[in-house]
């Protein structure tokens, strides 16, 4: 029982980005091409609807920018929002997408 819990704790940790992580959209995952699709993240036989910040986050996942750089970028774009919340929610979204095998880092 303890072993099972430890394993899931580990995988949860590995699913959360760290400062130097370079998140990248997984193969076969992309934002929609057409004007009506730009808030959609298309994946094999499925789609996620993203809100405004979600689109920005996902578009920034190019495998070059670090998590820290992405958070800084968002904190500058959304100046009135609480910077800690931005970091937390960005990490939350990336973790969710990682568990769905949509973002790698």
């Amino acid at each position: 029982m303890a072993a099972a819990r430890r394993i899931s704790f580990l995988s949860a940790r590995m699913s959360r980005p760290v400062e130097t992580s370079k998140p990248r959209l997984a193969a076969g995952c992309r934002v929609g091409d057409l004007p009506g699709q730009t808030t959609l993240l298309l994946i094999p036989e499925g789609a996620f609807e993203l809100n405004g910040p979600g689109v920005r986050i996902v578009s920034a996942c190019d495998g070059e920018r670090t998590f820290r750089e992405i958070v800084r970028m968002l904190q500058q774009e959304y100046r009135s929002a609480d910077p800690d919340r931005i970091e937390q929610e960005t990490a939350d979204l990336l973790e969710r997408l990682h568990l769905r095998r949509v973002v790698d880092f």
Binding site: A4, I7, S8, S11, M14, S15, A26, A27, G28, C29, R30, G32, D33, L34, G36, Q37, L40, L42, I43, P44, E45, A47, H98, L99, R100, R101
Partner: protein, 371 residues
């Protein structure tokens, strides 16, 4: 009525395999009846304009079409996300390279088993080794890669090995799909249906594998509705999410709909997709709730399962309006119960299985090719 989100493009019924669970209809389109390249391209453009997000290029074996790369390219150009549903047979490194260049988004590669002998028996062709080679080729390209494995009584014991095979092949996702009993699968139903014991062990194997492989490979599991209490929300509801186009251009709400005798289907050669979707009798027939008999009409679940599967209702009762017999509340539920009981009685004990294994092999009805 909101437009469809996905288009299933059955671009050919030709196929080098003869899988005993194929869901293609018995009456298939021959090569001469197939839509031209240009007609398909027009279909893709219409679909994208209607708000369709994704297209599945399937068949038969879509790779059998000489214009596949052109179709992928055109579908992508029109703004669709492109999935290729293939056996892998007919693909070459060169073709894969061309498909990657044409911006194919995702490949779903089928396997029949983890072992060549039983896999090739189900496929009716020597293909397993080639599929493994093709899997290695696919992973060289940056596209989504899913392995699809149809499971049934004869391969469920190798479920752990099949999952391991998919992981080793580099799949991002493996779809473990229980046979759905349409087309050839219906004819081979008694040979394919799993036992209750197999279903229970499979569930455990799946859950353990999902936990072990979390973040590395997704495992999607589709259960057989013959064992469910309630029916599946077939296609996400009749005429709600998906439009299927056959090789000869007929627009269907699902791959099996042509078995329903009183239905007339429109053809994309003659009508626009939008008009077919909104106004055709075939797409409107089982939308909403007005068509539902009791108990569906007053059932709480009707907004979740949309009354189950019309084709299955027709297959099992002769009435396309009937409550889906997979539902435990269906008057005709015994149609499903009886075959489930028959299979469990004949195949459950280890001694009976051993006897069956030494007896002459079950005779399969293999999928035929269209002329």
């Amino acid at each position: 009525m909101n437009g469809p989100l996905s288009l299933i493009a059955e671009i050919t019924h030709r196929c080098p395999l003869h899988c005993v669970y194929c869901s293609n209809p018995f009456v298939m389109s021959g090569k001469v009846d197939e839509l031209s390249t240009q007609t398909w391209i027009d279909v893709f453009q219409q679909a994208a304009a209607m708000g369709v997000l994704q297209v599945d290029l399937t068949g038969g074996e879509p790779v059998a079409r000489a214009d596949l790369v052109e179709l992928v390219s055109a579908a992508r150009e029109s703004g669709l996300y492109v999935n290729l549903i293939t056996s892998g047979i007919g693909l070459s490194p060169e073709k894969l390279e061309q498909l990657a260049w044409a911006r194919l988004d995702h490949v779903q590669l089928s396997f029949q088993d983890s072992d060549a002998a039983p896999g090739d028996e189900i496929a009716g062709a020597t293909v397993h080794a080639r599929k493994l080679e093709i899997a290695q080729e696919i992973r060289r390209y940056r596209m989504g890669f899913t392995v699809n494995i149809v499971v049934h009584r004869h391969n469920l014991e190798r479920l752990p090995q099949m999952i391991a095979m998919a992981a080793e092949a580099g799949a991002h996702k493996v779809e473990i799909a229980h046979v759905q009993y349409y087309g050839w699968a219906f004819r081979n139903r008694e040979n394919l249906l799993p036992t209750r014991g197999q279903l229970d062990s499979s569930r455990e194997v799946i859950q353990a594998a999902q936990a072990r492989l979390e973040g590395r490979m997704r495992i999607d599991y589709v259960v057989p509705d013959y064992y469910a209490k309630f029916p599946k929300a077939c296609m996400g509801g009749w005429g709600r999410k998906t439009m299927l186009i056959t090789p000869s251009g007929e627009a269907l709400p699902c791959h099996a709909a042509k078995i329903i005798p009183e239905m007339r289907f429109e053809n994309v050669r003659e009508q626009k997709l939008g008009q077919i979707w909104q106004e055709s009798d075939s797409f409107r027939r089982f939308r909403g709730e007005a068509w539902m008999p009791e108990p569906c009409r007053s059932c709480d679940r009707r907004t979740r399962d949309f009354g189950g599967c019309r084709c299955q209702a027709f297959l099992l009762t002769g009435d396309s309006h009937a409550t889906d017999p997979a539902c435990s509340l269906a008057p005709a539920h015994k149609e499903v119960e009886e075959i489930v009981q028959l299979v469990n009685a004949s195949h459950s004990s280890a001694r009976e299985r051993a006897q069956a294994a030494s007896a002459p092999r079950a005779s399969w009805e293999y999928r035929q090719n269209p002329r």
